[in-house]
């Protein structure tokens, strides 16, 4: 079942569910009003039309009836004239009078006149004839009145039908307009919903974190691509499976997210995602219960964070140990000096004083190096790069290291091409000092350290070579790591902090160069690094300027 966000489902149900659930007892929209008014108008038009038609039919019948009366009166008048001649006609006249009585049952005054006419026929035919004429005149007047009434009825019916039709059409037009607008809004809403669904789906699929949708029994209903990537399974292998097949916790007190979710809490926690190949990935989970009871689980791969935390813990542990080591000697020596237990042995007192001073110096170097390496790695130190002559830098570094090399009985020689590099002179000197210091520590007495610089393409290559015990190939990367040495006792035996080479490489890398241990020497070790050359100086490269400085005259 594809994942549909809860709010979208709600929106969908509102839109799609409104039509079938409409109640006739409740007017809920302008469409309802439009329909009701339109239907009412149509019914009204129909009723008024029926009433007008019925009225018109009644008026017509009265007109026809009046015509019939008038016609009979005409015949009666004619018969009366001719009745003077024959008795037969008189009988016909009486018969017509009888018919007229039947026709004028709706008009009592006319019937009274007919009764009078009947009496008059016996001896006063002339009066009877006048009476007939009077009746005819009255009927003709009645005909006029009824004809006008019929015409008025016709006109009224036409006006009612026209007005009602116009009204009905108007209301129906309004209703249709409202319906059209409402359907338009629904189409827009549905389109927006579809677009929202598509966007949500896209967001889910492109999310940097894994997203899983699970039901109330913690069965996976949906998963995005990142979830499949983290779990190393296809989406089909995830959907339908219980969440516990992929996620577990190593902490016995952690429980699982779903029990907490039943109380409606958003919960977070660190868990372990189990991949298809059996390996695990640490993940941070944020689980949210949705309105429909499903649970959205966002899982973030925190492998890198865990590794950084581990390295940080390790660094803190190592730094703590490294700081405590000279402090232990200082504390111990000063504690003994402060007591009276060494009063009888001046040589031991002197030795403890020297030991405390040496370890204080060692501590100072260590603190400085720790601060340096952190600042270099974080990029907090700005390099003041200028055009530098490597010969001056090497010469200066050798001078700085002269006392150390003297004490170790080691000579330092250097050569350099006429180069111009783009570098921070102080930091380059620090790099060279660190490398020469390292070489001195591992050089046997009466040996020589060689420093040389030459161009190689766009870079200057500077190498520091000693004649010491060398570095095994498998340890060559190790020596550049913090507090890592070929033999950990070197830091104490040689007085180093275990950070000098790490600092040197960091400086070189910040200059755009690289540092490595060359494997082209049979004896000792050879540290090389590159620094960008100034192009203008590259064009003026001359013959190598050889210079040798023996910094140690073996005594």
């Amino acid at each position: 079942m594809p994942f549909v966000p809860n709010h979208s489902l709600n929106s969908l149900s509102v839109v799609m569910g409104s039509l079938p659930t409409r109640s006739l007892g409740r007017i809920r929209s302008p469409i309802d009003i439009g329909f009701i008014v339109g239907v009412t108008a149509l019914v009204l038009v129909g009723l008024l039309s029926l009433r007008s038609a019925a009225s018109e039919r009644g008026e017509g019948r009265w007109v026809e009836h009046t015509y019939q009366v008038i016609n009979e009166l005409d015949h009666a008048s004619e018969d009366l004239d001719r009745a003077r001649a024959t008795d037969a006609l008189e009988r016909d006249l009486v018969s017509r009078i009888q018919q007229l009585r039947a026709l004028t049952t709706d008009n009592p005054s006319q019937r009274a006149r007919l009764d009078t006419i009947g009496l008059l026929l016996a001896g006063h035919r002339a009066e009877a004839l006048r009476a007939l004429d009077q009746m005819q005149t009255l009927e003709e007047d009645s005909l006029d009145v009824r004809s006008r009434r019929t015409e008025e009825s016709n006109r009224r019916s036409i006006w009612i039908i026209v007005a009602s039709t116009v009204l009905a059409v108007a209301f129906m037009t309004i209703a249709l307009r409202l319906l059209h607008d409402d359907l338009g809004r629904r189409r827009v809403a549905e389109q927006a919903l579809v677009e929202s669904e598509a966007k949500h789906r896209l967001l889910m699929q492109q999310a940097a974190d894994a997203i899983l949708i699970v039901d109330h029994e913690a069965t996976c209903l949906d998963a995005n691509d990142r979830a499949a990537e983290i779990l190393a399974r296809s989406r089909n292998e995830i959907v339908g499976q219980p969440l516990r097949a992929f996620v577990r916790s190593d902490r016995p007190d952690a429980g699982f997210v779903l029990p907490m979710l039943r109380y409606g809490h958003v919960t977070t926690g660190e868990f372990v995602a189990c991949r298809a190949d059996g390996s695990t990935v640490p993940v941070e989970i944020r689980a949210t219960i949705l309105d429909d009871g499903r649970v959205q689980i966002i899982a973030r791969d925190i492998s890198e964070r865990k590794e950084v935390e581990r390295m940080k813990d390790e660094f803190v542990s190592v730094v703590s140990h490294e700081l405590r080591t000279p402090l232990t000697s200082i504390r111990g020596a000063l504690g003994l000096l402060a007591s009276d237990r060494l009063d009888a042995t001046p040589d031991r007192r002197a030795r403890m004083l020297a030991l405390a001073r040496e370890n204080a110096d060692r501590l100072i170097r260590l603190v400085n190096d720790i601060l340096d390496v952190e600042r270099f790695d974080s990029g907090a130190i700005q390099f003041d790069r200028i055009e530098c002559d490597p010969r001056k830098l090497i010469e200066h570094a050798v001078e700085v290291m002269r006392p150390v090399a003297d004490r170790a009985g080691v000579a330092v020689e250097w050569t350099s091409e006429n180069l111009c590099i783009w570098a921070d002179p102080d930091r380059m000197t620090q790099t060279l000092v660190n490398l020469i210091d390292n070489a001195v520590k591992f050089s046997p007495p009466d040996s020589t350290i060689h420093v040389c610089a030459h161009a190689d393409g766009d870079m200057a290559v500077i190498a520091v070579r000693d004649e010491g015990r060398g570095i095994p190939p498998d340890k060559r990367d190790l020596v550049f790591k913090r507090f890592q040495q070929v033999d950990n006792s070197d830091s104490r035996e040689k007085g180093g902090t275990g950070l000098g080479l790490a600092i040197a490489r960091s400086i070189v890398e910040q200059h755009g160069g690289k540092m490595w241990i060359a494997d082209d020497v049979e004896v000792g070790s050879k540290f090389c690094f590159t620094i960008p050359l100034m192009e203008s100086v590259l064009a003026a490269v001359g013959s190598p300027v050889a210079s040798s400085l023996v910094v140690n005259q073996l005594s």
């Binding site: 542990s317 703590s320 140990h321 405590r324 080591t325 000279p326 402090l327 232990t328 000697s329 200082i330 504390r331 111990g332 020596a333 504690g335 003994l336 007591s339 237990r341 060494l342 031991r348 030795r351 403890m352 030991l355 040496e358 370890n359 033999d487 950990n488 006792s489 104490r492 035996e493």
Partner: protein, 126 residues
Amino acid sequence: MTKSLLLIDDDDDIREVAQLALEVGTDWRILTAASGSEGIELARDVCPDAILLDVMMPVLDGPATLEQLRGDDRTREIPVVFLTAKARPAERDRLAGLSVSGVLAKPFDPLELPEQLRITLGWASV
């Protein structure tokens, strides 16, 4: 009878300070070794009454040295006290969980170190 204690620490200065502190504060015979392997050899030879063992040492660290000591009949019963610069309680708890008599911290007070060892090892005061 004079007690003998073997001090194993790869740091020359600490070894020197600790040895001096124990020599001036007790009548024990103090033996020293600069590495785990050297300490194991010495322990097998002289069977000291106790061993004060540094934790972080190259090649053979404190726990590895302890394991070898416990695996040898000649050194299995020798009480061992760790001396460590590890500062975290969790690390010290882990060390205390090994088969040692106790864990002492660096830096140490040289005047109190002998008494701390006596208490840890259950030795009577001189």
